[in-house]
């Protein structure tokens, strides 16, 4: 149910984002989605890719420090209040969200959000119990390729 997310450290200066993306593009690895968090000095690029293990190797060989984190993809109704309802579930269960970002694709009336939880296993259990749909890796790949 969990997805593997790659994170890498970038200095916050012009041109730094392109290099890692080129490195994985050269290996034919497709990026499913990404998010960039930054401060004045540095940034963290977070990537969800098709072949995370290969991408991790490619990036590490090229000299980046890569961190592997488990995240959870959740289907949320793409209408006003859709996200708020999902968040209410998490809040009600006392689950701590470290950060979240939206998936670049939507399907039908659903948007996919990526959550980084302190405790992803408990989060998945709560989400499923409350009837929310957790998107697993294979499903995500099939969404992207159609």
């Amino acid at each position: 149910m969990k997805l593997q997310q790659l994170s890498l450290f970038l200095e916050n200066r012009p041109g730094r984002l392109g290099a890692p993306l080129e490195a994985i593009a050269k290996e034919g690895i497709n990026i499913l989605t990404l998010s960039l968090a930054d401060t004045a000095q540095f940034g963290i690029l977070r990537l969800i890719v098709r072949e995370w293990d290969k991408a991790k190797q490619v990036l590490e060989d090229a000299g980046w420090v890569v961190n592997l984190t488990e995240v959870v993809a959740v289907d949320v109704l793409d209408r006003p209040g859709g996200l708020a309802e999902a968040l209410a579930v998490l809040e009600g269960a006392g689950l701590n969200i470290e950060y979240m970002y939206a998936f670049s694709l939507r399907r039908g009336d659903k948007a996919i959000l990526i959550f980084r939880f302190e405790d992803p296993d408990r989060a998945i259990a709560v989400l499923l119990e409350k009837g929310l749909h957790v998107v697993d890796g294979d499903e995500l790949l099939s969404v992207v390729s159609c």
Binding site: Q5, S7, F9, L10, E11, R16, A37, D38, T39, Q41, F42, I44, R46, D61, G63, W64, V65, V66, N67, T69, E98, Y99, R116
Partner: protein, 446 residues
């Protein structure tokens, strides 16, 4: 016969090591005899030295006891620059068989000379150094000190041959080939700067070579100050014993002092290099055990004798007996050099202090660089630290926390505010020789 006996003992002894075990009274006799001879040689042949002696009303005969050395004038690095290139030579060029020079990053280099006898002494003290580090005949020593004008390469080379070890004279640089030969030749010992070896460990891991699985068992590291934390890291990551050796071109090159198996201070080969510790401010001699600037006198050098040379290195002498059995005195590892020191907003700062702070926070020493700038007349110090897998996180907050802890640890030690930037791995240039830890841009531009 004797050689066979020494070589069989794995304790790292060699016939050349015999003076390391001289009883104190015998050692002092040798030192006094040699001191009187070298003072006469310098007085008779080096104009600068003679003039300074005469100014003080001294003649070679003024040296009657070892303690009389304290009356002699100091020699400083500027003297070598002022007399560039050959002004301090005590023998004619026809007796000089070798010249070496410092790289000369600022202004003129410093030139040093050796007679055939000096090269013999140098080989002997380097053989004693390597024996001290447990090397013997049958060892394969990869010599990654630079060959050329720098004294490191040829000094270690001659010493290893004198010891009877097998030398791989690879010189510095070409890290991938260094790693290939360490593996393919079954190299058992390697010498280079500690910062370069740290880089070799890193590079070997990238190439899929685990240094711990190789026969390499000893690293002989010198030419720059390094900390105990860096030693722990090297020993654990490469599965070797890491020995600190000490020397400087002005005195002879490497071979002035070396650690032994006890790794509790460096034995000074004091039958050739007479050590003193002085207060760097007043020039007063300090007793054994007290910290101050190391001053060395070459007792047997012919081409370019150095009388009371101020090394700028801060240490103390240890006269207590060493567990290895050597009777020659030891000095504590050099943590700092007075010329590595820089002053920022009135505070004296040594790079080793920054290193200690980084080690305390991270556990291992990351690559770092200190940058000094001047902003509207005010000096600024910032430290760039490469992000390591150990501290990297996907959470901004966690990285900000690391950054803040590093800055706080440094500020705590130095007592001044510093900027701290986390930078990408391998963005700080690696050196094949001495690591460049401080970039001073305070006097660049407006």
């Amino acid at each position: 016969m004797l050689t066979e006996l020494w070589n069989d003992a794995e304790g790292g002894f060699h016939p050349a090591s015999a003076p390391d075990f001289l009883p104190e009274t015998a050692l002092k006799q040798v030192q006094l005899r040699r001191l009187r001879a070298v003072v006469s040689l310098a007085y008779d042949n080096v104009a600068l030295f003679r003039a300074r002696m005469q100014e003080r009303g001294l003649a070679p005969d003024s040296i009657q006891r070892l303690e009389d050395i304290q009356q002699l004038p100091f020699t400083v690095k500027a003297d070598l620059r002022d007399t560039y290139p050959f002004g301090l030579f005590a023998t004619p060029m026809s007796d000089v068989v070798r010249l070496h020079a410092s790289s000369g990053t600022t202004g003129k280099p410093i030139v040093v000379a050796y007679t055939r006898e000096d090269v013999g002494v140098w080989s002997e003290v380097m053989a004693r150094t390597l024996a001290c580090c447990g090397l013997h005949r049958g060892d394969i020593l990869q010599n990654a000190f630079g060959y050329g004008l720098f004294t490191g390469g040829l000094g270690a080379h001659y010493g290893a041959e004198a010891l009877g070890a097998t030398v791989v004279p690879i010189s510095g640089g070409n890290s991938d080939r260094q790693i290939m030969l360490i593996r393919d030749f079954g190299v058992s010992a390697l010498c280079c700067t500690p910062s370069y070896f740290t880089y070799l460990i890193e590079r070997a891991a990238e190439l899929g070579v685990d240094m711990r699985s190789l026969p390499l068992r000893a690293g002989i590291f010198g030419a720059e100050p390094w900390t105990d934390g860096m030693r722990d890291h090297i020993e654990a990551a490469a599965g070797i014993k890491a020995y600190d050796i000490y020397g400087l071109s002005e005195i002879i090159g490497p071979g002035v002092a070396s650690e032994c198996s006890a790794q509790q201070g460096l034995h000074i080969f004091e039958d050739h290099f007479y050590p003193e510790i002085i207060d760097p401010e007043t020039g007063e001699s300090l007793p054994d055990g007290e910290e101050g600037e190391l001053v060395l006198t070459t007792l047997s050098k012919k081409a370019m004798p150095m009388i009371r040379y101020r090394t700028r290195d801060i240490t103390s002498l240890i006269s207590e007996p060493c567990e290895c059995g050597r009777t020659i005195r030891r000095m504590r590892r050099i943590g700092r050099r007075s010329d590595d020191m820089f002053i920022i907003r009135g505070v004296n700062v040594f790079p080793s202090q920054v290193e200690a702070a980084l080690l305390a926070v991270e556990g291992t020493l990351p690559h770092y660089q200190i940058i000094l700038t001047r902003d509207q007349g005010l000096d600024q110090m910032s430290v760039e630290v490469e992000v390591t897998p150990e501290v990297f996180s996907d959470k901004i907050r966690a990285l900000e926390d690391v950054r803040a802890r590093l800055a706080k640890a440094i500020e705590h030690i130095l007592g001044i505010r510093v900027g701290l930037r986390l930078v990408e791995p391998r963005s700080i240039a690696r050196s094949e020789g001495k690591a460049k830890r401080v970039i001073d841009r305070r006097n660049e531009g407006a």
